[in-house]
């Protein structure tokens, strides 16, 4: 029987209250959202926080998916406490960005998706997290709140390394914002050992095409040691070119070259590198077909 070590438990009744509790308990306190990464780690004693600050009561503040005006354009805003299942069910999100549907259908299983949250996934910062690649491909912005107020961090600077993010111990990730651009297609491709498993490798692609030319390309990669979960060299190669099979295959090759996959129980490094190339090519092809 796996039992976590003892801890103090506090329930936050607002975002400022959660931040005040983090300040009161200090760096050994942790936020708990869905708990589907943190509680298993606590059961294995890989994590032993002294206090848990439960934010599950904050769905009113942190549980929304909405399209909002931002300057001249629009942004899709996703609250940190949105559950995987809610993102999958949100047609506002999946119609604009089918990459969410592709990815959420293959993240864990339906029961885990009922509980795990978008914010928890990003803050967990597991090197194989699917949503890290999705939001990297989308060029999202993370909105973080702390005692000093609200700040934003581009998602590609959000992940600082395995299990490390830009969120300070006294801060909360509150929202992800995704720019909405006309003429955009998106897709996600994942290879897993069995249904509901973490990826052996996965790639996300987001393409914007104007007048037959790619004006913006986002490529997200996970589980293959891509820095910041994205492939800037491959994105650069595509920008300004017309979409097409040859360009996509080349982008896949370049993306794979810049990865650093490690061999583990999910597969050898060269297989993962091969997948990085092939899944990037496939995701780009599907994304282009959806514009």
């Amino acid at each position: 029987m796996q039992v976590p070590a003892t801890f103090a438990y506090e329930r936050a009744d607002s975002v400022p209250h959660a931040i005040a509790l983090l300040e009161r308990y200090g760096p050994d306190a942790r936020i708990v959202a869905g708990g589907h990464s943190l509680i298993p780690m606590m059961k294995l004693r890989l994590a032993q926080p002294e206090a848990l600050i439960d934010i599950n009561g904050l769905a009113g503040e942190l549980g929304r998916v909405a399209i909002e005006r931002e300057g001249e354009g629009e942004e899709l805003a996703i609250g940190a406490l949105v559950r995987h299942a809610e993102l999958l069910d949100s047609t506002a999100a999946t119609d604009l960005f089918p990459i969410f549907r592709d990815a959420e259908r293959v993240i864990a299983d339906p029961i885990v998706r009922n509980r795990g949250t978008v914010g928890g996934s990003l803050c967990q910062a597991d090197p194989s997290e699917d949503l890290a690649a999705v939001f990297a491909a989308l060029g999202a912005t993370a909105v973080i709140q702390g005692p000093g107020g609200v700040r934003t961090v581009p998602i590609r600077e959000f992940h600082r390394g395995p299990y490390e993010t830009a969120v300070e111990p006294n801060e909360l990730l509150i929202q992800l914002r995704v720019p909405v651009r006309p003429g955009t297609g998106s897709a996600y491709e994942k290879v897993e050992r069995r249904v509901g498993d973490w990826p052996v490798a996965a790639a996300g692609a987001v393409l914007t095409v104007e007048d037959g030319v790619i004006t913006s390309a986002g490529i997200g990669l996970t589980a293959v040691g891509a820095e910041g979960f994205h492939a800037p060299e491959a994105e650069e190669l595509l920008t300004g070119r017309p979409p097409g099979a040859e360009a996509f295959a080349e982008a896949g090759r370049v993306a794979a070259e810049h990865c650093e996959p490690h061999a583990d129980q999910r597969g050898p490094a060269d297989y993962k590198r091969h997948l990085a190339a092939e899944l990037t090519r496939r995701a780009l092809t599907t994304a282009a077909g959806r514009i």
Binding site: Q2, T6, A8, P110, I111, R115, V195
Partner: protein, 157 residues
Amino acid sequence: MRVTVTVNGQPHTREVEPRLLLVHFLRDELGLTGTHWGCDTSNCGVCTVRLDGVPVKSCTVLAVMADGHEVTTVEGLERDGELDAVQKGFVECHGLQCGFCTPGMLLTARWLLDRDPDPDEATIREAISGQLCRCTGYENIVRSIKWAAAAEQEARS
């Protein structure tokens, strides 16, 4: 910490440690052993219960997180002595062998039919993909859920 959890419509108040998992609260504090406890790693789904109507794996939820909320376990499926249609389906179609996965399967099946009264086979298999049947009796589990869907359709018409 003092918690009150409404389980199958009945409020229960207990003094618990924050580290107590919901599955153990249900089994050990309340004696509701219909909720099974298997892998302990949120993979197998035998510990599935409905929390405010939504199926969750109770080995990965703290009892204190259910404070003030409603939980439905397999014991809460029957109404006034009559089995739920999904339970009848499992009886009719031999949907269980050892029965270890059955409570989680039943609660997930009920949730599926609440949302989608006429699911096709792929939808059923997708819905139960977070539950492992150690006896591998998936064919009959799918048949049982189809039986329940049909029985409820008929009762409505």
